[in-house]
Symmetry: C2
Subunit: 193 residues, 2 copies
């Protein structure tokens, strides 16, 4: 069987579903809606996926994996904290802008996961935040960063990064590299002259 360059049917379903869930939310997107966009019947979807929730689960955990891979990469390489932070931000923005629809679902729709998956998801999220926090702690120890409430700082920084998904447009003024650069400036030195 020849390895096709075309996306598999499953991948088509996933990306169509993600796009629609971005616009209309998880609960606002029905299996019939997804099927119609692919010009097939709802029942046919079940030849490729096992349930609607599997779409959400696969999306959320797939993205979590990408983000965590990104930050592990940063923490494995030795740099000072400032460089580490800059790299973490770049990686985050890269993953986010390369998977806009999936990222949106990841950020906004994870609450719709069933109990068990939701718990697992939250702990992955916590792990990611911890990795980020470690960078800030290193920065403090190195005397580079102000002493701040690190938990608070991480949440504030991540919110700025994640909000990019709300306004970023591939054809907009800023490309992902520029966005990451500006965010790094802002995080490090703030507004004040």
């Amino acid at each position: 069987m020849p390895e096709s360059l075309e996306p598999t049917r499953r991948e088509q379903i996933m990306s169509t579903a993600q796009k629609m869930m971005r616009s209309n939310g998880y609960q606002g997107t029905s299996m019939r809606d997804i099927a119609a966009a692919l010009q097939i019947e709802a029942a046919s979807l079940y030849n490729h996926i096992s349930s609607k929730e599997e779409i959400l689960r696969s999306t959320c955990f797939g993205m979590a994996d990408k983000f965590i891979t990104g930050i592990n990469e940063v923490n494995d390489i030795y740099f000072n904290a400032e460089e580490k932070l800059a790299m973490a931000v770049r990686n985050h923005i890269k993953v986010l802008t390369e998977n806009l629809n999936a990222s949106f679902v990841f950020i906004h729709e994870w609450r719709n996961l069933a109990e068990e998956s939701r718990k697992e998801f939250v702990s992955l999220r916590d792990e990611y935040e911890n990795q980020f926090r470690k960078i800030l702690e290193t920065g403090e120890e190195e005397g580079l960063f102000n002493e701040v409430n690190n938990k608070f700082a991480v949440l504030t920084i991540l919110s700025s990064l994640n909000w990019v998904v709300e306004w970023y447009r591939p054809d907009g003024e800023m490309n992902p590299q520029q966005i990451a650069e500006k965010l790094n400036e802002f995080i490090l030195t703030g507004l004040k002259k």
Copy 2:
């Protein structure tokens, strides 16, 4: 008829609905769910509200009004830009923490508004962002702030403020004043020593 100190039935419905929509989303909260929480039948809700969407509409526009009132107050009083920004942040955090559930719905569920309301809502949001942007522009002119992409800066700042709704707990370590203060520090001077 004596003016009661009790909330009206409508207010009870609103705040119950907001609490449930915070946990389960707009579409994840049915009229029967809301009614059950109030120990009445779903049909009885319609003696007090006209539709499910009215709950969302009233919540979103009610909060928009509070936020806009807050920023107008700031811009009407003459301070320098740094003081204005600090006040705007304080007001934002105040409104947000005093109406946690409604704020959460305001931030996350407005997409479920019907076409017409959604457009109106978005323009109110734009107005708010413009008022914020004006403060940053003033700061630039006064030579207080760095020259930055103001649109970008406003979105980044507002994301940090809005994310507070995700983690703030009335019984947590930081009270709203402290949160606002920390956010102001961070916005002005960043992490770097």
